[in-house]
Symmetry: C2
Subunit: 248 residues, 2 copies
């Protein structure tokens, strides 16, 4: 489909507006950039409003769905994309409703207490997906999962990991699962018995786990330190804990 | 010291020019932003050319060295800083020469094959410091450690971890230590015997370890996957391997 100037102008305006949470909320849409992520999106249950692809991409990849598709040049894509790697395809998809999920008695779920950096959130989603964790409960101050930096950092894992944003104090007040919290003075994670289910609570990048969540933590754990750094990055801590919990 | 307009204009020009590698190379200087990083810098053996601090910062922190200090307002700092968190202090320091180091028979060293993302490199430096690894050998295509995004992501650990940039094929041709390479089909890292020394080789974000380095890898290792993500972020993989090698 050839794109008229008016259509292109509208599309460009829509896509650049979706960089802001305010417009994502208004339109209930978000942008997915890059071939790997868009191919994962096409295979997922996300509703897709539009695909913008280069002729080369659209020739090579038969789209698995009937969706409005715009043929655009690489230069056009680059002019509206946020990332250098986005030079073949981009999609606009519908956000999912923020719906609570049940936690079964044999699964681990990650809980994020104000993880504000989009890159950290995206990396945590990707890491969770690697370690077979597909649910994340996030505080309302955690970065927005539909932020394009988050989506891009997940490397496609956003289609497999559900997020539910909520007030963590209220949530934990009703929770009956074990809560493993990462502290600097907890039990050595190498000797920790994790059992078969629970919440892995990861604190904010600067202040760690909030004071008001501490009473809900049933198991304080620590990744042993052998050097001098004061702390670990939030996504790094998540990964090391997931690896420890899976090896048991 | 009050800052004249001419002095401020020169300083501003210098600091913003140092965002580019070309100017860092020319001036042999780099910028450190934020209180935690600057305090670590003051305690390190880096040569410091200049400190720019708010009156509040300079009152609270007696500087441990005699260095040219400019009193600036928070607004002035924000106008030249790259990061939101930089609102109290900034420093200009001298780069160290790119000098090879010897590897002892009881230490692990990280080797980076074209890790291009500055955030990943910074996080790897911070993670290495946590796990007691203070030497990193990097390919020439690896991100520049003096990039401000790298420095900021290290959270001060850049003062404790030495980097040496070199051609990895030439380096590995002369190397006598074990080389642990991360592959998708190596031995389970949970059962890996690491011994007491060796190089931990981490591949590029997109293509993994280069073909021409593969012959030098003595031990292929893999972080077991329990879910569906195709790969792990480079810094995440580094951390999980470091945690596994330290527990043995």
């Amino acid at each position: 489909m050839a794109v008229s100037n008016a259509k292109w102008a509208r599309t460009k305006k829509l896509i650049t507006s979706l960089r802001l949470k305010k417009y994502r909320k208004l339109e209930q849409c978000f942008v997915v950039e890059g071939a790997k992520s868009v191919l994962e999106l096409l295979d997922s249950d996300f509703e897709i409003s539009m695909i913008l692809g280069t002729p080369a991409f659209l020739d090579e990849n038969k789209l698995s769905r009937d969706v409005e598709t715009l043929k655009v040049s690489q230069r056009e894509l680059e002019s509206i994309g946020e990332f250098k790697t986005n030079d073949t395809v981009m999609a606009v998809a519908r956000m999912k409703a923020n719906t609570p999920f049940t936690i079964s008695d044999n699964e681990f779920v990650i809980m994020l207490d104000d993880v504000r950096d989009p890159g950290n959130l995206g990396t945590i989603i990707r890491t969770a997906d690697w370690f077979g964790i597909n649910k994340i409960i996030a505080s309302e101050e955690t970065a927005d999962m539909y932020n394009s930096k988050v989506i891009t950092s997940t490397m496609g894992s956003f289609v497999r990991v559900q997020l539910f944003y909520t007030n963590l104090v209220d949530y934990l007040g009703e929770n009956s699962h074990r809560v493993f919290g990462t502290y600097l003075d907890g039990n050595d994670v190498h000797g920790q018995q994790f059992g078969v289910s629970g919440l892995i609570l990861i604190g904010n990048e600067s202040r760690g786990i909030s004071k008001e969540l501490e009473p809900f933590v049933t198991d304080k754990i620590t990744i042993p330190r052998y050097g001098s750094a004061e702390s670990l990055n939030a996504a790094i801590a998540t990964a090391v804990i997931c690896d420890n919990l899976r090896r048991h």
